[in-house]
Symmetry: C2
Subunit: 117 residues, 2 copies
DNA sequence: TTGTATTATGTAGTTATACGACATATAGCC
DNA sequence: GGCTATATGTCGTATAACTACATAATACAA
C-alpha cells in the first residue's frame, strides 16, 4: 500500500501535527474537539490557535493523512460541523513519528543527558 | 540563574537544533564536526545542509544557547575554525526538550499507539 | 430579553526556520 | 594537476506556526 518512502517523506512532524494525528487516532473528531483534546493531552501546554488548527487540517487533507468522515451526514443545525479521521497512511506516519521520537530520546540517553522538568 | 520561563520559551526545538545541542553536550566542536556527528547520531537519516547548519549556529549564539569557545586560540592554518560549546542555558534547554519528547512518546502509549519502523 | 460564555469554523498578514543552490578556500593524496 | 575531504558562509524559497480579525449558533443566567 504505502512504501517506507511515502511515510518518511512526511517526517518529522511538527508538534502541532503530531498532536492532531494522535488526537484522531483514537476516534474521529471535528476541529474544535481536536483543539480541546490536544490541550488535555498536553496538560494545557499546547493550545492550538484556530489559524494553526484549520491551516493544519487543510494541509493534512491535501497530504492524505486525514479524511473527512461525515460526507452525506445530516448537518443538524447551523454551521457545518466537519468530522475528520486518520487515513491508513496517516496512522502509519504517526507510528513512524513515535518511533523517531523514541530514537531522539535514546540518542540523548546514550550521551548521558538525563531529562529534567 | 535561568527561570523555567527562560527555558520553556526556547521549546520546542526543531530536529536540527536538537541534534546540534546534543552534539555539543558531550564536547565542544566546530561546525563541520557537528555536521558529521549529527549524521552519525541519526544513522545518516539527518544530513545538515550548510545553509541550515550555519544559520542555526548564528541563531543559537544570538539566543544564548551556545558560545564561541576558541576566543584567543591560535588559528593554526588557513581559514578560521570556530569552536562552539553549550551555555548553561543551552544545557538546561536540551534537558527540558528530552523531557518534552519523552512526554510525547508517553502520550502516544496512553492512546495505544505502538511505534513501527 | 439581553448579554455573555462556549462551541464552531475560517482568513490575512507576519515571522521563523529548514532547505537547496551557489560560493570560497585549504589540506592531503594519488 | 586533479580529486576528495575538510571547512565556512550567503541567498532565495518554501513551509508552517502565530496573532489578530471575522462570523455564527447554542446555552445559560441575570
Amino acid at each position: 500500500m504505502h512504501t517506507i518512502e511515502d511515510i518518511q517523506a512526511n517526517l518529522p512532524l511538527t508538534e502541532v501535527t503530531y498532536f492532531i494525528l494522535l488526537s484522531l487516532a483514537s476516534a474521529q473528531k471535528h476541529g474544535y474537539a481536536i483543539m480541546k483534546d490536544v490541550e488535555a493531552m498536553s496538560h494545557k501546554r499546547v493550545s492550538l490557535s484556530t489559524g494553526t488548527l484549520y491551516g493544519a487540517l487543510k494541509r493534512l487533507l491535501e497530504q492524505g493523512l486525514i479524511l473527512r468522515s461525515d460526507e452525506g451526514e445530516t448537518n443538524h443545525s447551523g454551521r457545518t460541523r466537519k468530522n475528520y479521521r486518520l487515513t491508513e497512511l496517516g496512522y502509519r506516519v504517526l507510528q513512524a513519528e513515535v518511533h523517531r521520537l523514541d530514537n531522539l530520546v535514546t540518542a540523548a540517553q546514550l550521551r548521558s543527558i538525563h531529562e529534567s522538568a
